[in-house]
């Protein structure tokens, strides 16, 4: 059962990382426009010729 000593903290750390990633994406405004990005990917504007 000693394996739990480090497996549980790893599991929690992973969860917290995901939570922070979500908070970051929220702060970054990624939920403000749910339609645009789907089309933005098709734009060639940022391709350097």
């Amino acid at each position: 059962m000693n394996v739990l000593i480090y497996l549980v903290p790893i599991a929690l750390a992973l969860g917290i990382t995901a939570l922070f990633a979500f908070m970051w994406s929220l702060k970054n405004g990624q939920y403000e426009d749910s339609e645009g990005p789907a089309h933005r990917i098709l734009s060639d504007e940022d391709v350097k010729k």
């Binding site: 739990l4 917290i16 939570l19 939920y31 426009d33 749910s34 645009g36 089309h39 734009s43 504007e45």
Partner: protein
């Protein structure tokens, strides 16, 4: 700067707009939001200015309007984000706690050591307590507020259940107990927050669309500066005492007194009167009136004592009080539910104590009753249906202003229509198109694209997919002319077109003349019925609604229309106060009245009625009072809204019954002391899933109700685009 954009109808536009903007010198960044149709621009102030940017957009065919988020909208945005954060925290916590709980449950069945179990319980507590303190705030605050107000809402039993579950779990953990309810408490939060967030997201989107429409309504005024020069300013910044200039074809942006100039104005949005009035200096004019043929100089006044607006505002305030007494279905359920639950829990405690169980055991069982009855399914029952229904309404071009509007709409049995702008189209239309030669009419429509005159706008609406003529000359007060294939084409008054005077077919028809070389024609323009008004009204009558018309227009203008629609009870010449009186009279008979109206004169009646609807073209004051706003040239959304509301209500009831049946099974088990955390978790998620699935059934039902998926509501701005064609 934020701009609300009109004319964005495809994804390619986004690319186009952003590239156009980036090409302008001085623009640092341009980003278009395709969900809200707003463009955010950042530029260097010394290299370019706002008007240059707006002009650049106009060249690309996009009309841009400076936009400032209203306070309400900012508040909604903030709240949505907050709920999303709470949801994320609850989600994180419930996933991790469930991981630990499942281990404990399977361990309890096999050979977990007490030390490991305690360790897992303490870990769960470590996650659950901060998470609940953070994510539970929406409920705790609301529960506190309701306690202070002295009436308990649904959030009170929720908060109590969560707090007790957590407290008991911590005590159990400290006593090395076998069972803790951390997972139940946090999962409960997760489900409830999901419901809240969906509800809020829908409302935010509705609000954003409404905000854009307000900006697109072209709320710019021409203010006369101190040096006599004209400056375009947003209507919001106009103050009493400002002098403004109103061009022919503009809507008057603020209430005021005419200083100089004379013109015909159309006050149909204000009073419902369809005959135009001639006004001169000294006359009082109201915001929302359409200025027809002369330029006016107007001094802005505040809504003074004794003016019509003042009267309307006073009536609205009084009438709105009745509405605020409405209690939502969920709150009514909570009012019955909460005391029953608390009494049951308390008597369970007493029962077990009398049976001779230890105090510790009795308390655990009593709390498990509270947890199992925590109205998870009950709290999801209503919002889940509401979200699905609001989504359908949104796609059908109907925006809900109030969260409880759906429930009230479902109870309606009497419908009162305003006439002008509600049963009829808000803008006048050509009525004798079939009597005219098609090619002549086509040229007229193309020419009319170049004029801002309201009558020309009506003609221009017949132009489909054509560009205006190149060289067009507008003669103020007369008409427009252009050379087409070497022939003189004119559209305007009889004199300008050297046309014979045409005898109009009815007194409320306006005429515009056309001359093309030797040929001539007279075009009749009138406010006509919404295209599907007759069919919709017939359909509503068939379903047993009692229909009335209350109009501010002259009785002789109302009567023929009422006959055409087959509505027997039609009254004209009503003042705002009389409209309220008529609605109160219906209410006194026990009717639940739906008011459908658009004018400023309808606003008090909209506020007084049990529920209310407005077309999107309605005056701001009226829209603010309406429970829902519909976006269509047709009248069918009224029927759709009622149908969907009834279906939604039926489903809400069903869901509440499902929740009750669930409790009927679960509560006896809990009282008997058989409920373990595992059973609580299974029962709670099971009932929530059933309720949510039942709500999703609405999708199938709604598809039948809205067969043609609201073809004309594809873009929220199709209507206003038409209104602002320059």
């Amino acid at each position: 700067m934020d701009l609300a954009l009109d004319g964005v109808d495809c994804a390619a536009c986004m690319d186009d707009i952003e590239r156009t903007m980036a090409a302008v010198a001085g623009v640092v960044s341009a980003r278009l939001n395709l969900t809200t149709y707003r463009l955010r621009l950042i530029w260097e102030a010394d290299k370019t200015d706002a008007s240059a940017l707006i002009n650049a957009l106009a060249k690309g065919g996009y009309r841009a309007y400076p936009f400032e988020q209203s306070r309400v909208e900012q508040e909604e945005t903030r709240r949505t984000q907050w709920l999303l954060k709470c949801l994320a925290v609850a989600g994180f916590a419930s996933m991790n706690i469930m991981l630990l709980s499942v281990s404990v449950w399977s361990g309890n069945a096999t050979d977990i050591t007490p030390e490991t179990r305690d360790f897992f319980h303490w870990l769960s507590a470590l996650i659950a307590l901060p998470a609940a303190a953070y994510a539970g705030q929406p409920f705790f605050r609301s529960a506190l507020a309701s306690m202070r107000a002295g009436k308990l809402n649904m959030d009170f039993p929720i908060s109590l259940g969560i707090l007790l579950a957590l407290t008991m779990s911590v005590v159990e953990t400290a006593l090395h107990g076998q069972e803790a309810y951390f997972d139940s408490a946090v999962m409960l939060l997760l489900f409830l927050l999901a419901g809240r967030y969906l509800d809020q997201a829908m409302r935010k989107r509705t609000r954003a669309a409404a905000g854009n429409l307000a900006a697109l309504k072209g709320e710019m005024a021409q203010r006369v500066g101190a040096d006599g020069a004209l400056v375009a300013v947003p209507v919001g910044v106009l103050k009493a005492g400002d002098q403004i200039f109103v061009r022919p074809g503009d809507r008057i942006p603020a209430d005021g007194v005419i200083l100089s100039g004379s013109s015909e104005i159309d006050t149909s949005l204000v009073t419902g009167e369809t005959l135009r009035a001639r006004v001169g200096s000294g006359a009082q004019v109201y915001a929302g009136s359409m200025n027809f043929d002369g330029a006016l100089s107007v001094q802005v006044t505040a809504a003074g004592e004794g003016t019509m607006l003042d009267e309307v505002a006073r009536l609205v305030e009084k009438a709105g009080e009745a509405r605020s007494r409405y209690m939502r279905l969920a709150d009514r359920a909570a009012r019955v539910y909460a005391p029953i639950v608390h009494v049951t829990a308390a008597s369970t405690l007493v029962f077990w104590l009398l049976m001779g169980a230890g105090a510790h055991h009795a308390i655990i069982i009593a709390i498990s009753v509270l947890i199992i009855t925590c109205p998870c399914a009950l709290a999801l029952a209503v919002p889940a249906v509401q979200v699905v229904a609001a989504g359908h309404l949104f796609r059908a071009g109907i925006f809900l202003n109030n969260a409880d509007a759906l429930e009230r709409l479902a109870e309606i049995d009497t419908i009162v229509f305003d006439k002008t702008g509600t049963l009829t189209l808000p803008d006048p239309n050509v009525v004798n198109a079939s009597a005219l030669e098609p090619d002549l009419l086509h040229r007229a429509a193309r020419l009319a694209l170049s004029s801002r005159h309201p009558l020309a706008l009506a003609v221009s609406r017949l132009a489909v997919d054509v560009a205006p003529f190149d060289q067009v000359e507008e003669v103020t007060g007369a008409g427009v002319r252009a050379l087409v294939d070497g022939v003189d084409l004119r559209l305007g008054n009889a004199e300008f077109c050297q046309a014979q005077i045409h005898q109009p077919s009815s007194p409320d028809v306006s005429l515009i003349y056309l001359r093309f070389g030797a040929r001539q024609a007279a075009i009749e323009i009138r406010q006509s019925l919404r295209p599907d008004a007759v069919a919709t009204v017939a359909g509503l009558r068939q379903r047993g609604f009692d229909l009335h018309i209350l109009s501010g227009d002259r009785p002789e203008a109302v009567a023929p229309l009422a006959r055409q629609l087959g509505i027997a009870q039609a009254d004209g010449g009503m003042t705002p106060a009389q409209k309220i009186a008529a609605i109160e009279a219906l209410r006194a008979q026990g009717r639940k009245v739906l008011m459908v109206g658009d004018g400023i004169n309808d606003a008090p009646a909209l506020a007084a009625a049990y529920a209310s609807l407005s077309p999107i073209t309605a005056a701001d004051l009226a829209q603010a009072q309406a429970d829902a706003v519909f976006l269509s040239d047709r009248l069918a959304p009224v029927a759709h809204a009622l149908d969907l509301a009834r279906q939604a209500r039926a489903l809400m009831r069903q869901n509440l019954w499902i929740a009750v049946i669930y409790n009927a099974f679960a509560v006896p088990l809990a009282i008997a002391g058989y409920v373990t955390p595992l059973i609580a978790a299974a029962a709670m998620s099971g009932s929530s899933i059933i309720v949510t699935l039942n709500a999703l059934r609405m999708r199938g039902v709604a598809r039948e109700a809205l067969p043609e998926r609201a073809a004309n509501a594809a873009s929220p701005f199709s209507l206003s685009a038409r209104e602002h064609r320059a």
